[in-house]
Amino acid sequence: MVAQTRRELSALPAAAAPSAAARVRLATTESAPVRWVLIALGLGFILLVIVLPLVSVFLEALRGGIGAFLRAVTEDDTLSAIRLTLLVAAIAVPLNLIFGLAAAWAIAKFDFRGKSLLITLIDLPFSVSPVISGLIYVLLYGAYGWFGPFLKEWDIKFIFNVTGLVLATVFVTFPFIARELIPLMQEQGRDEEEAAISLGANGWRTFLYVTLPNVAWGLLYGVLLCNARAMGEFGAVSVVSGHIRGLTNTMPLHVEILYNEYDFVGAFAVASLLALLAIVTLVAKSLLEWRYGDRLAAGRRH
């Protein structure tokens, strides 16, 4: 919608007769020098902070040639790090999909005591440093933590294995889906749900046919963001992982290990895979938006 409007606006001066060009200008437009300075500032910033670092990751990864790159990414420890990262994301993202959807649904469509407290709690992982989130789990479930003796007795291990990694990742990525959905659902209100119920739909069908399709795009966007963060999470995962190579090392942790061992090609090769995952995520989102943009707009319009 916004992009479309912008295109229409920028098409305006071009469509006007040349003689009137000087006067046909949007009231909100600045003079030419101001515009150029602002555009240059913006582009320069994006170039320095986003584009250059991203390009350099790929350049560094390929510095030793394609062969070295391939050797680095097919090394056993690297492959196991990739597998672990995908596994953690594959567990953490669906869990947060369910939690986030449930939380957003409860907050946006119902009134209850402690609602604002719940919203604050959902935001907590955003405001707490990921390292602390990791530490909390070690303190609670580690061998010397509160529940340590109890867990040891039953031979349950949370820390320094996949369970701990998943827990820490779920915690850190919890707000992404809920935060994406809450404003969307609140804006949509309860009218459509009430209409569905008055037409005889039960709660489950109402949710499935009315609530869910109305937030499908927000949900997809939230899932993509959540997934990107789940695969890239470093701090919390670092604390609970124990950095056991081939066992509890995720891709971001593996990058750090390789870098500390002065294996720059290896480090950047794995980093470039992570960057590639992020780029694929964004491209997928853009493609979906482009392909189904009409329905997206139809869903958002009133």
């Binding site: 459509e192 209409a195 119920i197 008055s198 037409l199 005889g200 039960n202 499908a216 319009r301």
Partner: protein, 352 residues
């Protein structure tokens, strides 16, 4: 279906939205709930639909107590103020929704659903728009989709919340007549909420005027308009001039002028307010007997000439209406001194 509302009350936190409402709708009746915002009319409608539940009181459909039933079990068609169409569904999918979500045993076959949807779309004159999305329709078209969707479940009761509120004046008038015909043809019992007195007067068999959670008066449009029970009803149903008066043995005395108030033969010199509609105020030249007033402004546009006058005794502003083409041309000019003769007043004693 007959509807009986028996002493229904409802509170939201500290706010008492309904205070023991009584209402009975006969089969086939078209009833308007008329009142200002905050009078409880929408709350009452939502309680009838099962979207809100009363704190106390009984609600009977055909003598059956439905107070405990949910919205889906009551078989009530509800048309929302802003239509609440399903944005991600086409018009046809919207209309068929109520049929598609029925339990499998009661659900009609796909072909039967299609047939019914086409019939409904024809009924609301949207037969070629079944494939459109709500965002591609005009306000009036959306309104009719909302109606078709509500009618798809073959309700015996149709409830409408400000059904014409979001439409422009011309479309509103057309839809009003169309809705009335539809109600008669389908033999529905309908209740609609409005704050527009003209809409209520034109459309309804009976009007319930609501104020602060109570029904102030219920009656036919003619009864409500010509015999308002309270000052509030009188003022709500059209323009009204207020005049302070004393009510004394069947007469109202306004600034020395005695007018008949036969409703109160037994009151003795009680303070009250007399109401006069603008078209019941006759302007005459200053030599005649009546209320002395000075013309302030004259508005020539509109169906009648509107004249604003100030009473000489109190300075109160009054409004009178004069038909176009009357021979009062020389009198209705600003600053002219004239007299006013109310041909019809309605006095109400002050609440004790």
């Amino acid at each position: 279906m007959t509807i009986t509302v028996d002493g229904i009350s409802k509170s939201f936190n500290d706010f008492q939205a309904l205070k023991g409402v009584e209402l009975a709708a006969a089969r086939g009746e078209f009833i308007a709930l008329l009142g200002p915002s905050g009078s409880g009319k929408t709350t009452l409608l939502r309680i009838l639909a099962g979207l809100e539940f009363a704190d106390s009181g009984r609600l009977l459909f055909d003598g059956r107590d439905v107070a405990a039933q949910g919205a889906g079990e009551r078989n009530v068609g509800f048309v929302f103020q802003h239509y609440a169409l399903f944005k991600h569904m086409t018009v046809a999918e919207n209309v068929s929704f109520g049929l598609r979500v029925k339990p499998r045993a009661q659900r009609p076959a796909k072909a039967e659903i299609d047939r019914q949807v086409n019939e409904l779309l024809r009924l609301v004159q949207l037969d070629r728009l079944g494939g459109r999305y709500p965002s591609q329709l005009s306000g009036g078209q959306r309104q009719r989709v909302a109606l078709a969707r509500a009618l798809a479940i073959q309700p015996a009761v149709l409830l409408l919340d400000e059904p014409f509120g979001a439409l422009d004046a011309k479309v509103r008038k057309e839809l009003r007549r169309w809705l009335r015909r539809l109600h008669d043809d389908m033999q529905l019992t309908s209740i609609f909420v409005t704050h527009d007195q003209e809409e209520a007067l034109e459309l309804a068999d009976r009007i319930a005027v609501m104020r602060e959670g109570r029904i102030e008066q219920i009656g036919t449009p003619a009864e409500i308009y010509h015999r308002p029970a309270t000052a509030f009803v009188y003022e709500f149903l059209g323009n009204a001039n207020r005049l302070r008066c004393r009510i004394d043995r069947g007469r109202a005395v306004v600034a020395g002028l005695e007018l008949p108030a036969p409703e109160y033969p037994d009151l003795h010199d009680a303070a009250g307010t007399a109401f006069v509609r603008p078209h019941d105020l006759v302007i005459a030249d200053a030599r005649q007997s009546g209320l002395e007033a000075r013309v302030r402004q004259v508005f020539l546009a509109g169906p009648a000439i509107r004249v604003e006058l100030a009473l000489l005794t109190t300075g109160d502003m009054l409004e009178a209406e004069v038909p176009h083409g009357s021979d009062l041309g020389s009198l209705i000019v600003p600053d002219k001194l004239v007299t006013l003769q109310p041909t019809k007043i309605r006095a109400f004693p002050d609440a004790a």
